[in-house]
């Protein structure tokens, strides 16, 4: 990968929502392994976090959190487990409320989000039944798409598609959530750890789908390659209730973090400590 080229690409993406929106959808579907249908046109007010604070018991997750999601942004959320990454999604969806501040959701935003508690998933039905509502052909982006073929791109073979959801492993369930989120035709996608359970072919296909998607995507992920390839912004949970919103790729962010916090501030965490002396 050429980092400079990537940088220019994500800049271009941010400036070109209209161009993305006007791409020929039939050609896109031909070109891409995972095609993500655009939702309705998205205005410039997407989702804004205004002075949000949230704590669990005596653990403060964040205080006075401010960010504004751009129209064509792809925002990677990074940070350790338990820092409150998924909680942001749940607060945006109104499943939890901030202690202070608010999330302002724009009038034109249509959010696509599928989580464990999603009411549309019937555990007694199969993967395919849940995904396609028992329709061989489904409408995506105004076109008819073969639902079994689409599911197979998420590595569900024909027979696996007939497995009951209640019998799925964690990884299979995550892949189903991903497929269901993408077909919702939202213009704001909230994706919680989609990359953990995908092989490199599917990851590559998802990256291309997102690159060509007209809208905003917010993705919780640890996959550095994925983040570097598609992100226009990084929302980083840096510990001690600090959250940093940064425009640029993951590698840019890492350099920025080093420059900002310096090696001296974290001598204990210096990278290449030896296992034995």
């Amino acid at each position: 990968m050429a980092p400079k080229g990537r940088h220019a690409k994500s800049k271009a993406r941010l400036a070109n929502y209209d161009k993305l929106m006007n791409q020929d959808q039939n050609k896109l579907d031909e070109k891409l392994e995972i095609y993500i249908p655009n939702g309705p046109r998205l205005g410039t007010n997407v989702i804004e976090s205004v002075g949000v604070s949230k704590a669990y018991g005596d653990k403060l997750l964040y205080e006075n959190l401010n960010f504004n999601l751009p129209q064509a942004g792809i925002v990677g959320i990074i940070g350790p487990n338990g820092a409150g990454k998924t909680t942001i999604f749940r607060m945006i969806m109104g499943e939890e409320t901030p202690d202070k501040g608010e999330f302002k959701v724009g009038d034109t935003a249509k959010i696509a989000y599928v989580d464990q508690s999603h009411s549309n998933i019937d555990p007694e039905k199969t993967i395919w039944q849940n995904f396609a509502d028992e329709q061989e052909l489904i409408l995506m982006g105004g076109k008819q798409v073969n639902s079994r073929a689409y599911l197979s791109r998420f590595n569900f073979s024909g027979s696996e598609q007939n497995k009951k959801v209640s019998a799925l492993s964690g990884g299979e369930r995550n892949r189903l959530h991903l497929a269901m989120t993408l077909r919702e035709e939202g213009n704001v996608l909230l994706l919680d750890e989609p990359t953990n359970d995908l092989d490199v072919n599917t990851l590559r296909a998802l990256e291309e789908g997102l690159e060509n998607f007209a809208g905003c995507a917010v993705v919780i992920s640890h996959d550095r390659w994925f983040l570097d390839r598609i992100c226009t912004h990084i929302l980083a949970f840096e510990g001690d209730s600090q959250v940093y919103f940064f425009e640029g790729s993951f590698s840019d962010y890492e350099e920025n973090k080093k420059a900002r916090l310096g090696g001296d501030l974290m001598p204990k965490r210096i990278k290449y400590k030896k296992l034995v002396r």
Binding site: E33, L198, D199, E208, W225
Partner: protein
């Protein structure tokens, strides 16, 4: 494969079929592995990656064909969900990685205690014998620098950022368990290190640390992973599992991508979607 290297083990004609599903995941695999090679395994879910690791580790015994090790080599394996004894503490588990040293120190201390027994110190013969035994142990301890064992463990635990030594295993999260198991495994320094998704659930700094440590690891490292930076930074070989076949490639992930898109181009004149996506990943 290469010339100046020592082969540490070979697989010849290895096949594995899951009877229930009647699915052959590995087909007649012939591969030799070099001492010191860093190998990343790629493949779809269910392509037999974890099975291959288990066969090499000796955990999976029902397969056809042979896995032949050069004599005297040790193998260590990190599974995706390591099973640790819930009744132990973090330090107990980490210490298992240096069990030999711990045993020598225990022996030394036992002899020390015996010097205090009357039946021993009143008997010159017994005393001489014990002193001789202790001298041998002392040489071993000096050679292994074992007097500093506690410091050594502390440094290792700090590097992998495990929870405090006295934390009970039963209180650990999945990610913490993996860290503790990895710490034990790396202290054992097996000649062949088998890792199943080593970077999953590790934070960015731990991943950087692990990459650096494995680059310098003396023995052979075989890792199943989807982490393409890890494959680019650590792997010197990529072993692709595709429909049961193992296809080795000498090089890291980027060079593998490059040759793969060229190979697909040769196979079909009309460029497939897959080949296009491979090309675009290199852009």
């Amino acid at each position: 494969m290469a010339e100046d290297k020592k082969v540490i083990f070979s697989m010849s004609g290895v096949s594995k079929t899951y009877q229930g599903a009647n699915k052959q995941v590995l087909k007649n695999i012939y591969l030799s592995f070099f001492y010191g090679a860093k190998i990343g395994i790629l493949g779809l879910n269910g392509s037999g990656k974890s099975t291959l690791l288990k066969i090499i580790s000796g955990l999976e015994k029902s397969y056809q064909g042979d896995v032949v090790f050069s004599p005297g080599y040790s193998v260590g394996y990190l599974s995706q969900e390591p099973q640790l004894d819930d009744s132990k503490t973090v330090l107990d588990i980490v210490k298992e990685g240096v069990a030999e040293t711990v045993a020598i120190l225990d022996e030394y201390n036992k002899i020390n205690d015996m010097f205090g027994l009357e039946e021993v110190y009143s008997d010159a013969d017994k005393m001489d014998k014990l002193m001789a035994q202790q001298a041998v142990l002392q040489d071993k301890i000096d050679a292994a620098n074992a007097w500093e064992l506690d410091t050594k463990l502390e440094i290792a635990m700090d590097a992998l950022r495990t929870p405090e030594g006295d934390t009970p295993i039963k209180n650990l999260s999945g990610g913490e368990r993996r860290r503790v198991a990895l710490c034990r495994l790396l202290l054992q320094e097996p000649d062949v290190l088998l890792l199943d998704e080593p970077t999953n659930h590790l934070d960015a700094e731990s991943v950087h640390w692990l990459e650096h440590h494995l680059q310098q690891y003396k023995g052979t490292v075989i890792a199943v992973t989807h982490d393409r930076y890890f494959l680019d930074n650590v792997a010197g070989w990529i072993l692709e599992l595709d429909r049961g076949e193992g296809i080795p490639w000498k090089g890291n992930y980027s060079s593998w991508l490059d040759q793969k898109s060229k190979r697909l181009a040769l196979e079909s004149k009309t460029a497939s979607k897959r080949q296009k996506t491979l090309e675009r990943e290199l852009e």
